[in-house]
Every structure is written in structure tokens, then in C-alpha cells.
């Protein structure tokens, strides 16, 4: 559907989309309309070519939505939340959150915490078509607020679940505000129910990390071949904040991850990592934009892909060091393993440096498994398939080293191993896979 179609849909259901919103958020919807009208129709239509059908009424799920999904990571205890298509659900009987912490539906937050949200959200730039579309149509998502000095010991798990019996589209918007000296870990799992229905999701997550705060963001996708997932993650970091972000795509259809990080304070550190396992005709795109806006911040970026069959994957990384950002340290690496002649990898590691006293590097490689290593292992009696497996696992290992939630790391090792072995497998959390 071209953007005129989405704008028309919005106009037809304007009352519904605008209900219970503060004035400034309503204005953002209108700004989004203008932004979309200014988009290049041809490039926009590429991503949103099919008319999946959006449900502005957001009919509630009949029954317990948590019956659809039960996370099976052994030993992990999380605060568990669900965005089912486009609506937020909190698991009943969750243990109490530490004092002052808020985790609720974003729609509800617009009613109850509008003043808290305004300084953060109203600044959102709407030039990007994915973001503009999101802000035109998103009605819900997760809101997380961790006050100054509060450290959440338990990770927050947000499951984005696509569930339908006909082709459909869902849009959601998550906001996380992490106060000064606060700490939080968020695990976002993207899943899709069934393999026959085509899904399109557009999800925007904004994270604001306060001074000296620590924040970890894990995004794990295990969806279906007929799922198109457009996801934008924006992180703003203040002085001395430490952020770790991991984007792991195990199984998918078409995934476009865009990550924008603004390092706005001295001593802020970002570690951003990603892993893509491309099979069949899957497409995995990770586009990252890291802006060193002030002096003395550091960033470390590592993305790895393993591609097989006709998978087509794309990495784009831009690190921008602004004139005032002296003493920046920024490192970027993208490494890719192409296992078949028909798999295609596109990679563009880029640096734009406008300061003169910085330490930066970037690099990218595309290659095959090391034949000498394979022979060495076979000469010790190891089966060639097993040897390939060990080498592939070795290749992705340093990405996993950055996963700091131990039960998640153990589970990922298993899931990655199964995926590399070619098993048609998901994380077994969805009812349909169990």
C-alpha cells in the first residue's frame, strides 16, 4: 500500500487514533501525515508494497493472551509483558516492581504520565518514513520508567507476538526512560504465530538512558518466513551511561533493523552487537547510526552474519564523530560467512569523522569456512558436518560473549546450534511449536 492509503486509513479512523491522547501527541500524528506526504512514493512502496490490513479497533484477544506464548528459557525469571499484534498486556500476578518503577501500556501512559513523556517523545524526528508511519498509526506499546537510582535485578521481557488468521499489519511504540544511576535489562522477543499468514510489523522503541545509568537491550527474532519486521531502536545516552545492545535474528522473513544511538555525554559507552543467521530466502538488514556528539564517549560495534541458501543480508554502519567529539573511541567490525554460492551479503562500514583527536576503525570481511581448519579437524576423526558446525559456532561465538543474561546465553547457544544445523526450529515458546 502506498502512503496515501495509510493516510486515508488514519483519516477515516481519526477519532479512534486520537482518542485519549495529549494535544502534543495528536499534533505528532498530523506532522506524521505531512512527513509521509513528502516521502518518495517509490522507495516507500518498496517496504510497504502489500496491503496487509490494519485493525484500528484493536479488538481485544479473547481469552488469556499469555496462553499463546510461554517463554521456555530455563532458569530465567523476568517481568513478562506481551505486545500482541498492536496491544500491550501485562501478565497477571506479576511480582511487585521496585518502588517508583512503572511498566504499563503506552496508551495508558499517555493518560497517566503525559507530562513525563512529553519532553522525551515530542522531540521525535519524523523524517524517516518508518518512524513517520509508526507515529501515524501506533496506538500502544510498552512504557517503562525506572526512577533515579533504582536498579532492576530481574530482566524485563517484552514479547512482540504477531497472531492472526488472515494477513495483517501491526504497529507499536515502546518508550523506556532510565533514570540517573538506574539499571535495567530489557529482552525483546519477536515472534509470529503460524507459518501460513503474512505479517507486517512496524515497531519503534525509544530508550533514554540517564547519567551513569546502565541499560541492556536484547532483541531476539524468531518469527516466520512470511513475516516482515521493520524495527527502529533509538537510544539516547547521557554522561557516563553504559549501554549494551544485542540484535539477534535467528529465523525470520524480511527484517529491517535500524538502530540510532546518540552519545550525548562524556564517558558514555555503547557496546552494540548483532548476529544474523540467514537461511532460505530470508533477508536480514541491520542499519546502525552511531553519533558521537560530545567528547570522551566510546563505542564498540560487532555484527556477524552466517548466510546459507539464497539468503540476502545487509549491514550498514555509520559512525559519525562530530567536531566537538574529541577523544572519541569508536570501533566497528562486520564479519560474514557465506556458506553457499547463492547467498549474498552487502556490507558498508562507514566512518565520518569531523574531529581530529580520535581513535576509530572500521572493517568488514566476507568469506567462507577455513578449508585448512576443516581438514585439520577431519584428520582427527571429526565428521565434516560436525567440523563445519564447530567452525560456524566458533565464528558467532564472540557475539554471544556479549550476552550477559546467563540463562539467555545458554538458550541462545542451543538455538543457534540448532539453527546452524539446519533444523527448522524456533525457540519453542509459542504454543504452535510446542
Amino acid at each position: 500500500m502506498i502512503h496515501d492509503g495509510y493516510i486515508a486509513l488514519f483519516r477515516e479512523n481519526e477519532a479512534l487514533f486520537q482518542q485519549n491522547l495529549p494535544v502534543w501527541r495528536k499534533q505528532m500524528r498530523n506532522d506524521a501525515v505531512v512527513s509521509l506526504q513528502n516521502q518518495n512514493k517509490a522507495t516507500f512502496a518498496d517496504a510497504y508494497a502489500l496491503d496487509y490490513g490494519l485493525n484500528p479497533q484493536r479488538l481485544p484477544f479473547k481469552g488469556n493472551p499469555f496462553s499463546l506464548f510461554m517463554c521456555d528459557i530455563p532458569g530465567i525469571t523476568t517481568y513478562n509483558y506481551l505486545v500482541l499484534n498492536d496491544s500491550f498486556y501485562a501478565q497477571p500476578n506479576l511480582p511487585a516492581l521496585p518502588a517508583g518503577v512503572v511498566i504499563c501500556s503506552l496508551a495508558q501512559a499517555f493518560v497517566q504520565h503525559a507530562d513525563l513523556l512529553q519532553p522525551y517523545i515530542s522531540q521525535l524526528a519524523l523524517q524517516n518514513p518508518d518512524v513517520a508511519l509508526n507515529q501515524l498509526l501506533a496506538q500502544d506499546g510498552m512504557f517503562l520508567y525506572v526512577p533515579d537510582g533504582v536498579q532492576l535485578e530481574r530482566p524485563i521481557q517484552l514479547v512482540n507476538m504477531m497472531y492472526g488468521t488472515v494477513d495483517m499489519m501491526a504497529v507499536s511504540h515502546n518508550v523506556a526512560i532510565i533514570g540517573e544511576n538506574a539499571k535495567a535489562q530489557v529482552l525483546v522477543c519477536d515472534h509470529a504465530y503460524g507459518s501460513e499468514v503474512s505479517y507486517l510489523s512496524n515497531r519503534l522503541t525509544q530508550v533514554f538512558v540517564g547519567k551513569n545509568a546502565t541499560y541492556e537491550h536484547y532483541k531476539l527474532e524468531s518469527s516466520s518466513e512470511k513475516t516482515t519486521n521493520v524495527s527502529t531502536l533509538q537510544i539516547t545516552q547521557q554522561e557516563g551511561s553504559q549501554v549494551l545492545s544485542n540484535l539477534i535474528t535467528l529465523a525470520n522473513g524480511q527484517t529491517h533493523n535500524r538502530v540510532e544511538v546518540n552519545l550525548n555525554g562524556k564517558g558514555a559507552h555503547l557496546s552494540i552487537n548483532g548476529l544474523g543467521l540467514g537461511h532460505n530466502t530470508e533477508r536480514i538488514e541491520n542499519h546502525t547510526f552511531i553519533n558521537h556528539n560530545v567528547d570522551g564517549a566510546t563505542s564498540n560495534e560487532l555484527f556477524k552474519y552466517v548466510l546459507d541458501y539464497q539468503a540476502e543480508c545487509d549491514f550498514y554502519g555509520l559512525i559519525k564523530v562530530l567536531p566537538d567529539a574529541q577523544q572519541t573511541q569508536a570501533f566497528q567490525i562486520n564479519r560474514n560467512l557465506c556458506l553457499s554460492k547463492t547467498a549474498r551479503m552487502f556490507t558498508r562500514p562507514q566512518l565520518e569523522i569531523y574531529a581530529d583527536d580520535v581513535k576509530c576503525n572500521h572493517g568488514s570481511t566476507v568469506g567462507q569456512l577455513d578449508e585448512n581448519a576443516l581438514f585439520y579437524m577431519r584428520a582427527r576423526g571429526i565428521d565434516p558436518d560436525e567440523a563445519r558446525m564447530l567452525l560456524m559456532f566458533a565464528f558467532v561465538h564472540d557475539v554471544l560473549d556479549n550476552v550477559r543474561i546467563e540463562p539467555l546465553k545458554d538458550r541462545l547457544q542451543l538455538l543457534i546450534e540448532r539453527r546452524l544445523r539446519g533444523d527448522k526450529t524456533h525457540c519453542n515458546g509459542c504454543k504452535i511449536c510446542r
Binding site: A373, F375, Y376, R378, G381, D383, E386, A387, L391, A394
Partner: protein, 250 residues
């Protein structure tokens, strides 16, 4: 145990081995010596099943089986071991995972159950002492960041783990200082039994001072041109390979 008859092999269309005949029996230690480029390493690679080499003629029988018909991994499981001249670094694969995969494949081949993690670690601890490797070995990546001496000791450690019936030591002495050479040679000697055999490939006498061969062969231009007892080593050391070149009429 090993019977090589008229073996010819080539790489990229260039013939390197031009009719090798060699017979190794249980309990024997053979040394193969020869100048650079004579085909020593090619012979070891062909026996181990390296895919870059093509056998064009001849046969190799190993414990009654057609060795050349077996893929590299099966040759290893059947009891052939090659100690690499240049052991390969495999970043990200830990020694423990690498060796456990290898040992359990060997056990499967013999119809034995795989070792449990505990049993395996116990075995690894016992065997690493043979070549005086340190305790951190298990969690290090295969050969990554190992010194030249450690790499060669690691080869002998793997040999101790897999208990082959025929070991081929390809230039195991190259790059070793005298202490490492002694450790490696001691390791090899400890593993010697009346049931197994070794082929030691080397340029120099010094390794053969520690691993004493029963039979010494000289390989030159892809053929074994001379075979004798261990006294041949001393003759070579004194006269050099030019003497052999003269003997074969060059």
C-alpha cells in the same frame, strides 16, 4: 600394518610422489629423511587424506583395508594419526570441544559409548602431563596464540588422546628449542608400544637422537632411494644429501 606399493601422487598436475614403496610393521619406528622438496610432507599429506593431492597410481593398505578409499576422518578413526608440520589455529573452538568431538567419534567407530564430561576431563588431565602442557589448555582455542613449541606439544597431546596405531610425525622437530624437543620426544617414546608404529619425517639427526628409528629411508625426488638401519642417520649427517645425489647418478 602399512603397505605402500608404487604410490604416485600429484598436486595441481605436478607429480610429487613417483613410485613409493614402504612397509611398516607393528612395533617399528621408521625415519624418512630427505632434502627439501623431495616429497616428505606430500607423502604424509597423501596418507592422511588431504584433498589437495591426487593419487594417480599405486595402493596403500592399512591393517588390511584400502586406505586410499577412506575419507580423512575415517583414516583417523581407523588408527592413523598425522602430527602436522604446521598445526592449524582454529579461533573460537576450544581444545576441550575439539578433543571431545574427536575422541567420541573414535569411540563411536569402535562401538563404544561416548565419554561423559567428567570422564573426558579426567582423560585430558592425564594425557596433557605426558607433554607437560598446562592446565589452561582446555579452555584455549585450538592452537590459537600457542608458541611454536606448544603447538607441537599439542600435536603429541592429541596423539596421546587418540592412541593411534600408526603415527606420522611430520617435521615435528622444526621450530623447537632443545627443551621442547626433549619433551616432545619423551612424549612420543612414552606412547610407544609393541602394537603401534611410527613414521618420523625429519631433515635432521637431532630428533632421531631421542626417537631412535629401527629403519631409515631416504626420499629423493618422489622415490625412496635408500633404506638401511639407524646407522644411515650418522652417515647422512656426515656426508649430507649430495652423497645421495651422487649415488643415484646425478
Amino acid at each position: 600394518m602399512l603397505e605402500i606399493v608404487n604410490l604416485h601422487a600429484e598436486v595441481n598436475g605436478k607429480e610429487i610422489l613417483r613410485g613409493i614403496n614402504l612397509s611398516v610393521k607393528a612395533g617399528e619406528v621408521h625415519a624418512i629423511m630427505g632434502p627439501n622438496g623431495s616429497g616428505k610432507s606430500t607423502l604424509s599429506a597423501v596418507l592422511a587424506g588431504h584433498p589437495a593431492f591426487t593419487v594417480t597410481q599405486g595402493s596403500v593398505t592399512f591393517n588390511g583395508k584400502d586406505l586410499l578409499a577412506m575419507p580423512a576422518e575415517e583414516r583417523s578413526r581407523a588408527g592413523l594419526f598425522l602430527s602436522f608440520q604446521y598445526p592449524v589455529e582454529i579461533p573460537g573452538v576450544s581444545m576441550v570441544n575439539f578433543m571431545r568431538a574427536a575422541v567420541n567419534e573414535h569411540r563411536k567407530y569402535k562401538g563404544q559409548d561416548p565419554l561423559t564430561a567428567g570422564e573426558f576431563l579426567k582423560l585430558m588431565r592425564a594425557k596433557k602431563d605426558i607433554v607437560e602442557l598446562d592446565n589452561k589448555l582446555a579452555n584455549r582455542s585450538v592452537n590459537e596464540g600457542f608458541s611454536g613449541g606448544e603447538k607441537k606439544r599439542n600435536e603429541i597431546f592429541q596423539m596421546a588422546m587418540l592412541e593411534p596405531c600408526l603415527s606420522i610425525l611430520d617435521e615435528t622437530d622444526s621450530g623447537l628449542d632443545i627443551d621442547a624437543l626433549r619433551i616432545v620426544a619423551n612424549g612420543v617414546n612414552q606412547l610407544k608400544t609393541p602394537q603401534n608404529a611410527s613414521i618420523v619425517i625429519t631433515h635432521y639427526q637431532r630428533l632421531l637422537d631421542y626417537i631412535v628409528p629401527d629403519i631409515v629411508h631416504i626420499l629423493y625426488k618422489g622415490r625412496i632411494v635408500k633404506t638401511a638401519g639407524r646407522e644411515l642417520v650418522a652417515v647422512l649427517e656426515e656426508k649430507g644429501y649430495d652423497w645421495i645425489k651422487q649415488e643415484v647418478g646425478e
